[in-house]
């Protein structure tokens, strides 16, 4: 908070990275990559962008650990949700 000027430069840097990642994401959908590879790449880019927003714009990187734990809880629960639904996703 004391180094606001530095933080602002950082915000612009994050903004540029997010924009570039979005352009890359949209571009690779036109390349005709194999389905699995494309899906994996898109998921990696999406999680990367989401993490950038949470860490820098939402200041998680500079916050107390408690907030990070709160923020990660829904992701853990979603993994459990998918695991519990496995019998429906792959019947027999």
């Amino acid at each position: 908070m004391s180094s606001t000027a530095h933080a602002q430069n950082n915000y612009i840097k994050i903004f540029i990275i997010l924009s570039v990642l979005t352009v890359v994401e949209v571009s690779i959908t036109f390349l005709g990559l194999p389905k699995m590879l494309l899906v994996s790449l898109l998921v990696i880019f999406a999680v990367w962008k989401a993490a950038l927003v949470a860490l820098h714009f939402m200041h998680l990187k500079f916050e107390k650990k408690t907030l990070t734990i709160v923020a990660l809880a829904p992701f853990v629960l979603c993994v459990f949700l998918v695991l519990m639904l496995m019998p429906d996703i792959f019947p027999h």
């Binding site: 606001t4 979005t22 809880a73």
Partner: protein, 202 residues
């Protein structure tokens, strides 16, 4: 904020998990975690329905992604304006704060305008052409539920930010309140990044 720092010391405020000055932030994070579960359930449900369906249209071909890519960009820019607004009010620069929070609200409103246009176009022209109806087609149902739920969040965010702008100018809200509103707004941006990828691109 400065009083709190004076009492507790900066280092201590960062180390202690719960301090009175962080309760508001903790509350917003708890709400967002719950809200993330709502979105998580919808996205997981969407994934499972799509996986189980024998025929599922290629989303990009039905929906088109040019407008949506622009909408993604709008929300990201709007998020940046929000952090700049927070930085401005932390520096005590009211004029700059008003400008950037105003732009944030404008970005959100433009996003909603684009979404209204997109939905109208899909419902009146694109989907009927392809014989897809949202009441009987899983692709269309999941699309409208997911983007609609997110659109409601954006609407809430625009109203929330407008209230914050008014409250700051009446002297009732300070920087810490803006930071909490910012958390909500960045969350809405974060969820859209995921929806854009899962619903439009994949």
């Amino acid at each position: 904020m400065s009083e709190a720092v004076a009492v507790h010391g900066v280092a201590e405020a960062n180390d202690t998990p719960l301090t009175p000055e962080s309760w508001g932030k903790l509350g917003m994070w708890l709400f967002l975690a719950g809200d993330a579960m709502s979105f998580g359930c919808l996205i997981v449900g969407y994934g499972i329905l799509r996986h189980a369906s024998t025929k599922w249209p290629v989303p990009a071909q039905v929906l088109g992604i040019n407008l949506t890519a622009f909408m993604t960009f709008l929300l990201i820019v709007s998020s940046v304006w929000m952090v700049l607004a927070l930085a401005a009010i932390q520096d005590g620069n009211k004029a700059k704060f008003n400008k950037f929070l105003g732009l944030t609200i404008l970005g959100g409103a433009m996003f909603l305008g684009c979404q209204a246009y997109e939905w109208t176009h899909l419902l009146q022209h694109r989907l009927p052409e392809l014989n897809i109806f949202f009441s009987t087609n899983l692709f269309a149902t999941t699309f409208f539920v997911l983007t609609g739920f997110h659109g409601l969040h954006v609407t809430g965010g625009v109203i929330y930010n407008t209230c914050v702008l008014a409250a700051v100018n009446r002297g009732r809200y300070q920087a810490k309140h803006v930071e909490i509103a910012g958390l909500y707004w960045h969350f809405v941006d974060l969820v859209w990044i995921l929806i854009f990828t899962f619903v439009y691109l994949i």
